[in-house]
């Protein structure tokens, strides 16, 4: 199951854990990434709290945690090659995984049709 935030993060749930990244729309808006700062393993994230930073040539952007959770894995590949986020934002360009801290928070996130509508409306 994949859910989305209004800040253009996606979260994919797999049993007790979830993977987080930025959406294709977000990477397109940012342009070529040149730096990604990932959260520290074991960091306790709160829903809506700053979790990672993605930087293009021109600007730095915060990535927020869609839900509460503990960081259990980070994608070292995107730290080494930030353009992976551009080329495959919902696949190999994932950023970090969390152990789900509050499953009910997932219900407040958008499903794919709702997110696509948000993007369409923002144009």
């Amino acid at each position: 199951m994949m859910k989305f935030t209004s800040d253009h993060e996606w979260i994919r749930v797999d049993q007790d854990s979830a993977t987080v990244g930025i959406t294709p729309f977000a990477q397109e808006k940012l342009g070529d990434l040149v730096f990604v700062q990932l959260p520290k393993l074991g960091a306790a994230l709160e829903a809506g709290g700053a979790a990672a930073v993605v930087e293009s040539v021109k600007a730095a952007s915060d990535v927020y945690a869609p839900i509460k959770g503990e960081v259990i894995e980070v994608n070292q590949q995107v730290a080494d090659d930030p353009t992976l986020v551009n080329s495959d934002p919902t696949g190999n360009g994932w950023l970090f995984k969390v152990r789900i801290g509050d499953r009910s928070q997932l219900d407040k996130l958008m499903d794919e049709p709702a997110y696509q509508k948000l993007i369409a409306d923002s144009h």
Binding site: D7, H8, E9, I22, A26, G31, D32, V34, F35, Q37, V53, V54, E55, S56, V57, K58, A59, A60, S61, D62, V63, Y64
Partner: protein, 390 residues
């Protein structure tokens, strides 16, 4: 995800309707992302993106629309260009009397405190001076110059002209194939040239560190000339995003970020723009706004100095980041004024100001980044070797 830092320079001012350059339709056709910049709707990038655009300029040739910049013609009331040069020397610490016709110079428009109102390109033509000013400063510059040169010069605002920049190692072959009239020009030469039957003024200069040209062209012919240049398969249209990373790699200042009314030419390490004739003991020394302060700083130095910075990690250090001498000290020794990623350097680069006693190339200092101090090294300008055809 949201932008936590974006360029402060040139952001939209008030709610005045944005102006468009004559290349607006071309920008849209080429997939430009348009942003407000100094009152204009300008292309920050095209479909290829900033990284590829930047590298294309360094490898081949890029065409920039810089029509938002101000162009002024300065003529002496009597018609003698030497008199206009003399008059204009009263507002810039630059030798214009000694500037030959058809030559251009970089100049700082100073204020009484020795600060910088704007940075300009000044060309001496046979009958006039031609001045190119920053978009955000052009109205204020014009008003100031009308007052400062009152009684000696007439100032004509050239709103009927666009400005294009063609930059990169292939710029010469590209422009030569469009007009043979530019053959033999060297860095900072300026010529009246016909391109696509339009009366253009071409300078061999730019703001990327590359060889290249700037083309002042009548508005009505701007799109024709731009399309003619773009017909060459080696040329790509380049947005303001890459223009910013190119000038940063070249160690060049962005007015409003790296230069302002509180910063002197000597603090900004731009004393090379002040010729010997305008310095103490020169044939027409001083007699420009802030001369006492600037001449004193040329002799005795300044408390702070503009320097290049190379962050040691991969994280870019950006505008506004405070600089510290070490990990512990409470008071900063300086601040980053421009910073980002240098695509040709393939690493983060920045420039800023530090106290002069810290301003030693190679010295390690620290920038504060998201609450942490990260090591950065003071570096010499430019970050990439300049390619000017002197």
């Amino acid at each position: 995800m949201t932008a936590v830092q974006s360029p402060t320079q040139g952001s939209a001012q008030a709610a005045a309707p944005l102006k468009r350059t004559p290349l607006y339709d071309l920008h849209i056709e080429l997939g430009a992302r348009m942003v407000p910049f100094a009152g204009y709707e300008m292309p920050v990038q095209y479909a290829n993106g900033i990284l590829k655009e930047h590298l294309h300029v360094r490898a081949a040739a890029g065409l920039f629309d810089v029509s938002h910049m101000g162009q002024l013609a300065i003529r002496s009331r009597g018609g003698e260009v030497a008199n206009a040069a003399t008059a204009f020397e009263s507002v810039v610490p630059v030798d214009l009397l000694g500037l030959a016709a058809g030559r251009q110079r970089y100049a700082l428009l100073t204020n009484e405190k020795g600060g910088v109102r704007d940075d300009l390109m000044i060309t001496r033509m046979d009958d006039r001076l031609h001045v190119v000013a920053n978009a955000a400063c052009k109205d204020a510059d014009e008003n100031y110059l009308r007052e400062a040169l009152k009684g000696t010069c007439d100032i004509e605002r050239l709103d009927d002209r666009a400005l294009l920049a063609l930059q990169g190692p292939m710029a010469e072959s590209v422009l030569t194939s469009v007009t043979p009239d530019v053959v033999g020009m060297r860095f900072m030469d300026v010529r009246a040239v016909s391109i696509c039957a339009a009366d253009c003024m071409v300078s061999r200069s730019g703001y990327t560190g590359e060889d290249g040209f700037e083309i002042s062209v009548p508005l009505a012919a701007a799109e024709i000339v731009a399309r003619k240049v773009l017909d060459n398969p080696h040329v790509a249209m380049i947005g303001l995003g890459a223009r910013d990373s190119l000038r940063l790699e070249a160690g060049l200042c962005l007015y409003g970020s790296d230069l302002d009314t509180e910063t002197t030419p000597v603090e900004a390490a731009l004393e090379w723009s002040i010729q010997a004739s305008r310095r103490a003991g020169g044939a027409h020394a001083g007699a420009f706004p802030g001369a006492a302060i600037i001449l004193d700083q040329l002799k005795n130095g300044t408390p702070r100095r503009r320097i290049g910075l190379r962050p040691e990690g991969r994280a870019p250090v950006r505008h506004g980041a405070p600089l510290f001498a070490d990990l512990q000290s409470r008071d900063p020794v300086g601040v980053v004024t421009s910073g980002g990623f240098g695509p040709s350097v393939n690493a983060p680069i920045a420039m800023g100001y530090v106290t002069s006693k810290c301003a030693t190339a190679g010295a390690p200092i620290f920038a504060e980044l998201r609450g942490e101090r990260v090591p950065v090294r003071i570096a010499k300008f430019p970050f990439v070797p300049p390619k000017y055809k002197r």
